[in-house]
Structures are given as C-alpha cells and as structure tokens.
Assembly symmetry: C2
Homo-oligomer: 246 residues x 2
C-alpha cells in the first residue's frame, strides 16, 4: 500500500463503513423492521448496555495515553456526554431508560448477570485495543461514529413504527446522539488524516476501524446466535428464564 | 495490624503526612527560606513541571479503572482543573506561567530535555502505581493533597518575601490550588474511609500514601543532589549550561 492523500484515506475509511458497519447485520434488519420479539429487543438492549457502560472507561483509557492537553480536553467531552454532569444524566443513564422502557429490571441489567459472554469479550477487546495499540489506532477505532447517524435514524423510525412497547421517551438516548457523534467523528477523522503520515500508519488506522466494525458485528452475531437461531441453548445466558426460546 | 475504625484510619493517614510529606524536605527549607539561587528555583520549577504535566494522565488512568459513573464524574473535575476548559487555562498552563516567570524558555521546559532522570522515574512510578494497584490504593495515593494547603501557604509567603524575581502573578498556580486540593482530598479521604473495610485494605491504603510521599520526596532528593550538593556532575542534566555548578 502506497501513502494515500488525506482525502483518499478518508475515502478508504468511509468505504470500510459502507462494507462492514453493523448497519448491514441481519439482526438490525430484524430489529428495525419490527421482526424481533420483545424478548429479542430486551436482549439487544441488555447486551448493548455493557458496551455503553464501558465507553467512558474506553475514553478515559485514551485520555490516559495523551500527552497533549488539547487532545485530552477534546476527548474529555466524551466523558461528559456518557457520564453526564450529575447522577441520572448522560448517555449511560439514557440507555438505562431504554432498558427500563423495554421492561427490564434495572438492577439486573447493571449486574451484567444476563450478559452474553461473547458481548463481554467483544467489548473488553475494544477497551484493551484502546489501551494497548497506538494512540492513532485508538482514535481511529472511534470512527464508527461517522456512520452512526444513519443507523440511528433508521432505528428510531423503525422501532417507533413497529413496536407498540417502544416510545420516543424510551429512545431518548438516540435522539441525543447524532450531533455528538458528528462532532466527535469529525474531530477524530481530522486527527487521523493529519496524524497518519506514513503508509504504515494509514494501514494501522484502516485496520483499527475494521477491528471496531468487527467488535460491533460480533456483538450482533452473539445476539443472533443466542436469541434468533439458538442451537446450543445450554451455552446461552437468557434475559429471563421465561424468555428462553423453545 | 487490626481493623481500624474509619477515624483511626484517618488519624494514621494524617500521621503519615506529619512524618513523611515533602514539606519536611531540606530542599523546601532552602526554597521557601530564600536560600536557593535563581538557577535552583528554575531547576525546581522545571522538574516539577513534569509532575504537573502527568497529573491528568494519572487521573485519566484512575478514571479508566472506575466502573462507577459517579466516581468517574467526581474524578473528572481533576482533569478540568489541570487541563482547563480551553487552551491556556488550567493548572498546567498556570505552572508554565511560573516557569516563564522564573525566566525559563517554555519550549525547553515542555521538551523535558532538562529533566533530571530521577524526576522522570518518580513521576512515571506514580502513574504506573495508579494504573496497576487497586482502585482503593490509587485513590489513597492522592491523599498528599490533604497536606498541600499548608505547604502552599508557606511557599507563597516565603518565595514572595525572599526572591525579588518572584511575583504574585508568577505564583498564580498556588493561589488557585488550596480550595481544589481541599475539595479533592476530602472526597478521596471519605472514599478511602468508606472503602478500606479490611485490615489488609487499610494497610494497602496507608502504604499507598507512604508511596506517594516517597515519590514527592524523591523528586526533591534528586534536585538537592543535582543542584545543591552536586557530587557527580557528569550524571546531572542542568537547566542551562551556564547554571552548571562549579
């Protein structure tokens, strides 16, 4: 691979999103198209909670690697977005409104007792990636946010239309995200374009975004295998016993 | 060691400060008493800059280990204090006003080219401690702030009185710190008292504060050996060539 211009690098990054972002996963077609049972929607919300809960840990891990106060300050706004300014605010609290709204017990969600092992492995791999890879790769791995406004639009529209147990209030998390995701992903994209100055660094940035797409994809694979086409029920953790598929 | 009451634990923590805090180091007696040369004051400011610069990295490392959004939110205020809300604000920027004020070139300070190796080792050991020890020990290691308002008061008074090249503006860092240090150390002390629930945990918390006192002490030892009583000049890095002692 030759050194790309910043614009060509951006095109390659966007192409990864077009080909590998979890918008394309069959579980999302079911979820957004109204084809999920309530239990499957619950399983999605419960498993995704762990991802949401670990995002500030991931972001603080990135800040902990920055020697540049400016980059730390910029990335700090992500901690504010997810943890909020006080209790009950921020993205994690809004995600818990979603799990409340779909009828899950909050203590059970937060306990992680219902989490699929593959969800934990995928999320933990993401946090570890941000701690261990280069700072450029850590920043690049956040670039799935470039693609999130579209999937969020589809999700909110589809879920409101297709499930009578879903309200706008339940989906408040998503109504807040697009402007934040746009601000964050523009900053991160600019950072990657400016700092990936060798072919090797560009290759690493592209691989980081592919890795992150794999994390999100693997989370949906796990849901699909456990709740849509379960084959090995003894290995699955279910949201509640009565939602266990037959 | 038996399990202490929270109050007895606090008394033991405060006793560590009374016996081992760097307020007692002979370098500070020289610094505050007007007995330092300008070059020695510069060396102190330059070496301490690295400690200041790494504090947000240390604090983000602690946040990156917290699963509790409330603790993350609380600790986040330390990032704000040190990195500021925008460029030129915050504790690091104020420390650079101090290094400016004592006549050091800012690029040279930030480059760390003049840093004593022992300063780097001590500061890096502190960051590593916060990353690798228990969360309780990480929090406990911050408790030197319990003792900082007194030393700051002595420092500001002594330096303003004793050095004609020091102004109140140069020492702005210190005028901002005491209320922040008090807020932070009260929170951390309460956290340690509530969370050190076994004799082993209490012992670890006490050892963490001793470790942190050693970090601060070692930084002053390095300054003393290099700039007050230099014996092995070839191993020292000097602020500038012309400040090298004879």
């Amino acid at each position: 691979m030759k050194l790309l211009t910043p614009e060509a690098l951006e095109a390659r990054l966007r192409d990864i999103g077009a080909r590998r972002y979890h918008r394309l996963h069959p579980f999302h077609a079911l979820l957004h198209g109204g084809k999920c049972t309530k239990g499957q929607v619950q399983a999605w919300a419960l498993n995704r909670y762990y991802y949401q809960a670990m995002i500030p840990v991931k972001d603080a891990s990135l800040i902990a690697r920055c020697e540049d106060p400016g980059l730390r300050r910029e990335w700090r706004s992500r901690l504010v977005d997810h943890d909020g300014e006080e209790e009950g605010q921020g993205g994690i609290a809004r995600w818990l409104k979603l799990t409340d709204g779909v009828g899950l017990d909050r203590d059970y969600v937060v306990s992680l007792a219902g989490l699929l092992p593959a969800t934990r492995f995928a999320v933990d791999a993401y946090v570890r990636f941000v701690r261990e890879k280069s700072l450029l790769e850590a920043v690049a791995s956040s670039l799935t946010e470039l693609f999130s406004p579209q999937i969020i639009g589809e999700r909110v529209e589809g879920m409101l239309k297709n499930y009578d147990f879903i309200t706008g209030d339940t989906l408040a998390y998503f109504s807040k995200r697009p402007p934040l995701a746009q601000r964050d992903s523009e900053f991160a994209l600019d950072y990657v374009k400016r700092n990936a100055r060798s072919a090797e660094a560009q290759r690493a940035a592209l691989a980081a975004l592919e890795f992150k797409c794999d994390v999100l994809w693997a989370m949906l694979d796990a849901l699909y295998h456990a709740y849509v086409t379960p084959k090995h029920v003894q290995t699955c953790t279910y949201v509640t016993k009565d939602q266990q598929p037959e």
